[in-house]
Amino acid sequence: MNKPVEPALVVVADDDPDDCLLIREAFEDQCAGCTLCFVHDGEELMDFLNGQHPDREGKSCPVPDLLLLDLNMPLKDGRQSLQEIKSDPRLQELPTVIMTTSNDQDDRDFCQQRGANDYIVKPRKYSELLDVVESLTKQWINKEHD
């Protein structure tokens, strides 16, 4: 596995701290070179993406390499965030993978129509989560180095 010269930036938008913990661990296990950023609602996510996030203040604001987006979040949920991202010319190329507990067909259809790049139901087992992270890494982060 080649590592990128610049560490890849993965943004995880999820309000559930447990899931955030699990995802962080999974990435550390699977893709240690990535920089993970966590935001906890849609407002924060959009601020981050527009370079107004406190963590990113003053820094250049690169478009992340991957966004993992939960659908059910406070303030501004994932559906609305997805719509805003995919209708923003600067952000519409951002790989956005929906990662949610919902297995509802309506949600799947909605996200597909709005241009989500993938739709993943949060796995029940940590081993499955590792598989997910691995395939995401392969598909979105390390692809240019393959």
Partner: protein, 1101 residues
């Protein structure tokens, strides 16, 4: 018509006038020529050649106008030939006759053009064009010719050989030029212009004119000659007197000198002679001659005359004349002698004897020319004079006219003296005349022609109008005749049609006229009324529509026989009236000449019916008398005798034929009725007031009977009652029936009173006619209050309410209505049924307040239940959904923990795996609960599903399990059904996967899926397996959630599958039953019921 005729008529008359003029002018010329010869004194001779051509032209014009085509053609060519000959031949050969007849070449051109136009008009289809070209040329030539007379420059253009012929020809020529363009239309005109009258009138008029012209010419000639002669006479007279004067003058001179004895002294002579010469300008020289004729003294105006004297005296003849003069001793005039200037002079000699022995003479020379010039100085300039002295022309007033051009008018000889002879000639220039004589005749000619033309034109129009008047008169006669005929016809027609209409309208028979195409043409009122149609419905429509289908053949045959000339008599057919009832018509029909069929029909239906009825009635009457016990009676008041019919006797149970008198009859009545009948009979007998009583009698056999006695009086002419007669009927049965009805009515009333429903009736004006007791209770009003009062008056709050609408609807439509409504003033819910009838409305109703209240409570409870159900479902969904989250965390972290299991002891690892297993079961339970609740939360609308497709999909999904378990599944085609495809799929999935799952370990599953009891109302799906089965006691548990019939160890599952199936099938209104026994397999039967719409559809198919 008149306007259209005007122009052709004008040109026709003009052409005719021209033709006649040419003819008559030509004729006159020829006649004149034949009488007077080529030269005629005093007038101009017109050339016979021109006359001939004019005649020929006249003939050809007339032939053209009379439409003798070939004659006209021949003449036309003849004219051309004649004119050519007369023009050309004189050019090449010379003869007097030919010269006389010769024509001007220009005239030949004109004649050619005229003839060609005429020929073209007759023979060429575009002949008018030739006329149009030639006309203007001819006209122009004529005009130039006229002008040539006054314009010397145009003299070559003259058409005539002489002035007069030019003056006559040119206007004719112009006229011809005008006409030529119209020859074609005249010739081809359809109108017959020609009439003998017109021609005769034209010939007469123009002949008279031409004769006048000729006469005028002749007269002018005569007058000219007279003028010439008188001129000559005058001249002679004045010449004589002039010479006499001269002679006398000279003699007086000579006599004076005689007295002087010898030669007068020179001075005296000179004085004397000079004064003579001065006073008389025509004296040129005076001399005295001696005996030897030598001049002694001579005095002259100029010396020239002395020369002349010498010449004169030297002439021998002159000397002889002098001798003679001297001897005769009288004055003499000598012969003329020319001087060197060619002027003639003559000498007057007078002998004188101045002394004895002297024979001298005085000689005076006279200038003859001056003398005559003085004499003729004031004469008519048109006439010229020439004077001869002894055959010497001494004077000519127009010496420049050559002799050949002179035309001599008069030449009297004058002998004034024996030795001097004089002659005077009066002449004019040949070919011309003084203007008076020249212009007057042509003016007269053309004026006459114009007048003749106008006369012809007016004659033509007069004749036209005559003809028109005549034809109008004829037309008028014809019209009058027609009018008369028409009037007669109309009168006849009116009479006929009035009679026919009356007959038609009043005829009691049905009458109609139909055509051969089976359409009604006319019908009378009876026809229309009998059949109940309107006239408009029938007129023009086919009568076959009316004829009863079984009689069509008869009609067809009847029409056939009519067309073959037969009549139709007493044909009986059936015809349908407007209500479809058949009428028997007896038909007579004939075919008229105008192919119309006249039909008389008589409706014999009633007649037949009446006959039938009469027969029936006779029977019935007898029957009725017997059955109805109705009879008649008569009482003769004068005798008191009465006659009873058999029936009356029977009613009284008396032997038939008996007739008791009035008093006995009255005694049959029971005591309480006897006086009543007696009074009625007496009253009737006295006043004639009829009676009709229902009373009771006791018969001869003692039976009580109710009878109806009807009587009325028979009055004689004076109004006195003579008889009573009437009917008598046993009405015992009726009476009993009435009693019965009365009892029924009472009973009904009791029933109405006793029924629990409230009841009232209304009449047609909404007034209460009956109200039962229950009604009184419900309405809170007594019967007394209500009866006779309007419902709207008593219950005004009902106006405009449901009650109002429903009652009115019932009354208007005649349909009964049922409804529930709340009546606020009574605070009551009522269930009402209203039945309309002829009398009004009958209304049953009852209070349903209790039922309504119960219903409301029930509905509230249902709503509550619904709400709680919904909450429950929502709860189940939300709970199960939200429960998953923490569970997933438990699973995830325990899994995370499991990855670090090498740090635990064996018992910790066991706990961990048990925990994971429990979490997994919980996850399954939650998911099952979710799918159970999703049956309602995720329900989709019902649609037509292809059951076979759904099943095939399920089998495909289960393929892995089927292969694994080596299941054998028999599937038969299944009917379609209406449902939620996703859920039906789940039903199949659960049933078949259960069937695969629950099989004995050693036997592979064997499953059948098929349909049973397929009908319009639905079908039954059967899923059968030969699996392990179960105890039928647990059948009910099977469909409850989380109920398992088999151990978890043997068979996986939470026990939700069948619960879901049940729930789905409940939603589809399908009924599931199960038959099973342990070890014998399980059979599920699901009964799907078709919805009504689906049933319809399947019926259509």
């Amino acid at each position: 018509m008149v306007n259209a005729l005007k122009r052709p008529a004008f040109w026709y008359c003009l052409t005719l006038a021209l033709a006649i003029s040419l003819g008559s002018v030509g004729l006159i010329i020829l006649i004149d020529f034949s009488i007077s010869g080529p030269e005629s004194v005093g007038r101009l001779a017109l050339r016979p050649g021109g006359g001939l051509v004019a005649l020929a032209l006249c003939a050809s014009f007339l032939a053209l106008l009379l439409r003798y085509r070939w004659l006209a053609t021949g003449l036309g060519f003849g004219v051309i030939a004649l004119a050519s000959v007369l023009t050309l031949v004189p050019r090449f050969s010379s003869s007097d006759w030919l010269d006389i007849a010769a024509l001007n070449p220009l005239l030949l051109l004109v004649i050619l053009l005229i003839s060609l136009s005429g020929l073209a008009a007759m023979h060429l289809s575009r002949g008018w064009f030739v006329g149009l070209v030639c006309g203007p040329i001819v006209f122009g030539l004529g005009l130039l010719s006229v002008l040539s007379h006054w314009q010397p420059g145009l003299s070559a253009m003259g058409l005539g050989t002489i002035t007069e012929s030019t003056l006559v020809l040119s206007p004719l020529c112009m006229l011809a030029g005008l006409i030529l363009p119209f020859l074609y239309s005249i010739y081809h005109s359809k109108v017959q212009f020609y009439s003998t009258g017109l021609l005769v009138l034209g010939i007469l008029g123009i002949l008279v004119t031409t004769l006048s012209w000729h006469a005028l010419r002749l007269q002018s000639g005569e007058r000219l000659i007279e003028r010439a002669e008188s001129l000559a006479g005058q001249l002679e007279a004045s010449a004589n007197s002039a010479f006499d004067v001269k002679l006398a003058l000279i003699r007086r001179l000579a006599e004076r000198w005689e007295l002087l004895d010898g030669v007068p002294p020179e001075s005296f002579w000179k004085q004397e002679v000079s004064s003579y010469l001065r006073d008389f300008p025509d004296l040129r020289l005076i001399t005295i001659l001696n005996r030897q004729h030598s001049p002694l003294r001579t005095e002259s105006r100029t010396l020239d005359y002395r020369g002349w004297l010498e010449t004169f005296l030297s002439d021998r003849q002159t000397r002889d004349w002098l001798e003679h003069t001297i001897e005769s001793r009288t004055a003499h005039l000598s012969a003329p002698l020319q001087d060197y200037q060619n002027r003639y002079h003559a000498a007057i000699a007078v002998p004188i004897t101045p002394g004895p022995g002297y024979s001298w003479s005085v000689l005076a020379v006279v200038d003859l020319q001056t003398v005559y010039e003085n004499l003729t100085a004031h004469y008519d300039g048109a006439l010229h004079v020439r004077v001869y002295h002894q055959d010497q022309a001494v004077f000519d007033s127009a010496p420049d006219i050559p002799p050949a051009q002179e035309s001599l008018l008069a030449s009297p000889r004058i002998t004034p003296h024996h030795d001097s002879e004089r002659r005077i000639e009066v002449y004019t220039r040949k070919g011309t005349l003084p203007s008076g004589e020249l212009y007057l005749p042509p003016v007269v000619l053309f004026t006459g022609l114009g007048l003749s033309f106008l006369v012809m034109l007016s004659h033509f129009f007069w004749r036209q109008s005559e003809q028109r008047a005549r034809s109008l008169a004829e037309l008028n006669d014809v019209l009058n005749q027609h009018l008369e005929d028409e009037r007669d016809l109309r009168t006849t027609n009116e009479t006929l049609s009035r009679e026919r209409d009356q007959f038609f309208a009043l005829s009691p028979d049905m009458f109609c006229i139909v055509d051969l195409n089976s359409h009604f043409f006319e019908l009378n009122e009876t026809f229309v009324q009998t059949l109940g149609y309107t006239r408009d419905q029938l007129l023009g429509s086919s009568y076959m529509k009316l004829v009863h289908a079984e009689d069509h053949e008869k009609i067809t045959q009847a029409v056939q026989s009519l067309t073959e000339g037969h009549e139709v008599k007493d044909l009986l057919i059936r015809v349908l009236d407007s209500e479809g009832n058949p009428h028997w018509l007896q038909i007579n029909a004939t075919l008229s000449a105008d192919d119309l069929i006249y039909v008389v029909a008589r409706d014999t239906t009633e007649q037949l019916a009446i006959e039938e009825k009469l027969r029936e009635n006779e029977t019935l009457l007898k029957l009725a008398e017997r059955l109805a016990l109705l009879g008649g009676w008569v009482v003769d008041l004068s005798t008191g005798k009465s006659v009873w019919s058999d029936a009356v006797c029977d009613i009284h149970e008396l032997p038939r034929g008996q007739a008791p008198d009035v008093e006995d009859a009255i005694n049959f009545y029971v005591d309480e009725h006897r006086e009543q009948i007696r009074a009625a009979v007496l009253l009737c007998a006295e006043t004639g007031i009829p009676f009709d009583e229902e009373l009771q009698i006791k018969t001869a056999k003692g039976n009580l009977r109710w009878v109806r006695a009807i009587g009325h009086a028979v009055q004689d002419d004076e109004g006195k009652v003579v008889k009573l007669q009437g009917a008598f009927q046993d009405i015992t049965a009726t009476h009993q029936a009435m009693e019965q009805i009365r009892r029924y009515a009472e009973r009904q009333s009791i029933i109405f009173e006793s029924i629990t429903d409230a009841f009232f009736t209304l009449d047609a004006d909404w007034r209460f006619t009956y109200v039962n007791r229950k009604s009184e209770e419900l309405l809170h009003k007594t019967r007394k209050e209500l009866i006779g009062r309007s419902i709207w008056e008593m219950f005004p709050a009902a106006i405009g309410s449901e009650f109002d609408d429903q009652y009115r609807h019932a009354v208007e439509t005649g349909e009964s209505v049922s409804f529930e409504a709340y009546y606020a003033p009574l605070d009551n819910w009522l269930e009402v049924s209203a039945y309309p009838s002829d009398e009004g409305l009958a209304v049953y109703y009852r209070s349903i307040r209790e039922r309504k209240e119960a219903q409301w409570k029930f509905e509230e409870a249902m709503a509550e239940l619904e709400r709680s159900n919904r909450e429950l479902q929502d709860f189940a969904f939300v709970a199960s959904h939200d429960l998953q989250e923490p569970l997933r965390k438990i699973q995830a972290f325990s899994d995370r923990l499991m990855t670090k299991s090498d740090q635990f002891g064996p018992s910790e690892q066991d706990y961990l795996s048990r925990m994971q297993s429990a979490a997994g079961r919980m996850q399954q339970l939650i998911e099952d609960l979710l799918s159970y609740s999703r049956v309602t939360t995720r329900a989709k609308p019902m649609a037509l599903c292809h059951t076979d497709d759904v099943l095939a999909g399920v089998l495909q999904d289960l393929d892995t399990a089927i292969t694994r378990e080596q299941a054998h599944i028999k599937v038969q085609p299944l009917p379609d059904l209406v449902g939620d495809a996703t859920q039906l799929r789940q039903v199949f999935q659960n049933l078949i996967s259960n069937a695969i799952k629950f099989h004995a370990p050693d036997t592979p599953p064997e499953i059948s899926v098929y349909a049973e009891e397929v009908s319009d109302s639905g079908w039954t799906l059967v899923v059968q397996d030969r699996g392990i089965g179960f105890d039928p006691r647990y059948t009910q548990k099977l469909f409850h959630p989380f109920q398992r019939l088999h151990s978890r160890e043997g068979y996986a599952g939470t026990g939700i599958g069948m619960a879901i199936v049940k729930k789905i099938l409940d939603r589809h209104s399908a009924e599931i039953t199960v038959a099973s026994a342990p070890g014998e397999g399980t059979t599920f039967r699901i009964r799907f019921r078709s919805s009504p719409a689906q049933q319809e559809q399947s019926k259509d198919e």
